[in-house]
Amino acid sequence: MTISVSKTDLAFREAVRERSGEDIHACFYCQKCTIGCPTAYVMDYQPAQLLRLIQLGQKEKVLGSSAIWMCVSCETCGTRCPNHIRLSPVMDALRHMAVEGGYAPQPSVYALHQSFLDSIKLWGRVHELSLIMEHKVRCLLAQPPLFFQGLVSDMLMGGDLILKGKIAFLPDRVKGLAEIKKLYAESQPEVER
């Protein structure tokens, strides 16, 4: 695959290095990360390509990529990298920068993370049933066809889990909810949006 390169933004490269704490410059493109990555096949830029794009200061391409939302943080790349670069913190930093910079995230993955954090903020623990419903609503609002993606298999699976008593109808609220809210308030504001 040929990727055309636009103007180099060196400040972006340094910002990724600083926020992730990973030495991105050490990558010599052996592609072990790409080969071991379980989700590389659904990424627009694969892990090694993404690292090279960061080295080349390609801010728009990197922060606008779907790849940064497809990483499941399984730590395979970081375990195998001969230069000890962990991509998991790099991907986290890129996701934070993408949200801050107003780049469109992969809607379904982003909606899940938002719903998850909302659930913790409301109850202190995750309540799966309302989390899944909020995720579906967020998908519907972001991109209507997404609502229907996997809906049948999700409902069959959900129904099975409910019948087996593995989904709680009512949430389990922690007593120290005020503390949780304090932790949310003290952290960066983007999750508050």
Partner: protein, 283 residues
């Protein structure tokens, strides 16, 4: 032996069998678990994806709760374990953040006791002989593929108690309860984790490949040490539904002859009971 205990959100819902079998097996092995009072969610895979501060503050609250007892904390869920480890490392290394958290949550970080994964504790704080002694019904003839999943043994500089590419702790426990561990290639391959809710096709693809790998290696079933791995492999393996997926603690409880095993096994998607009856391991 006494430990603090952090069950994690799914231990009461989607992986209730893991929570119950963990508690039962620990009790049988005289491993006392004292549940942290009013524990909260660790942020799972979502907090670190969206917010750096929250990603260490949420598990930080649980690490704070564990300080009073000063004991190691047993954690059955690998994601909870990894997040707690990250928070514990931040407490040790980032003094400013530690002070901020101490004043926000009104506690003192003593650094006594660490987050530990259940598999690490059962493998390293006990010797295998103690496990063997409890076996009343050896799982003879049951071929088990031990599945560790991704973050249980990675990254090695955070976990460090088993090989990140070829872990063996669960295999040895399975052997100790009389089962036959199989060699296979997908022990540490990722199942797709939380994508099961956002992009389920990916999880179907990955989980189907892992289960097929276990069957190809001659396994009758898979043993897992993670609530998300178990539910993904169990419910997202393609239509053939080839292999039951246990929690390793369920298989231990079965071999120990503990009460409740049959009820837990009824909660699986691929029903493991026919296989166990066929092998004479369940009545």
């Amino acid at each position: 032996m006494k430990y603090s205990y952090y069950p994690g959100c799914t231990a009461e819902t989607t992986s209730v069998e893991f929570g119950l079998s963990t508690e039962a097996v620990c009790e049988a092995l005289d491993v006392e678990l004292l549940e942290l009072k009013d524990w909260s969610c660790c942020g799972a895979s979502s907090a670190h994806s969206l917010n750096h501060e929250l990603a260490r503050a949420l598990p930080g609250r649980n690490v704070a709760l564990a300080q009073e007892a000063g004991l190691d904390t047993v954690i059955p869920c690998p994601a909870c374990y990894q997040n707690s480890m990250s928070a514990d490392r931040a407490f040790r290394r980032d003094e400013d953040w530690r002070r901020k958290m101490e004043s926000l949550l009104d506690f003192e970080y003593t650094g006594q006791g660490r987050p530990r994964h259940l598999l690490d504790v059962l493998s390293h704080d006990l010797d295998l002989e103690a496990v063997r002694k409890k076996v009343v019904k050896p799982l003879t003839g049951l071929k088990v593929a031990s599945y560790y999943g991704c973050v249980l043994v990675r990254p090695p500089e955070v976990t460090g108690w088993d090989d990140p590419e070829h872990p063996m702790t669960m295999d040895r426990l399975m052997e100790a309860v009389g089962a036959e561990p199989v060699d296979w290639s997908y022990k540490v391959d990722c199942c797709g984790a939380s994508m099961t809710l956002s992009i389920s096709d990916v999880v179907v693809n990955l989980s189907t490949r892992i289960v097929a790998g276990a069957v190809e290696a001659g396994a009758d079933c898979i043993a897992s040490a993670c609530g998300i791995c178990q539910i993904n492999l169990d419910t997202r393996q393609a239509a053939q539904r080839k292999a039951p997926v246990f929690y390793f603690t369920e298989l231990m409880a079965l071999a120990f002859g503990l009460d409740g095993v049959g009820k837990w096994l009824g909660k699986h998607s691929v029903d493991p009971r026919p296989l166990l009856r066929e092998r004479g391991l369940l009545t």
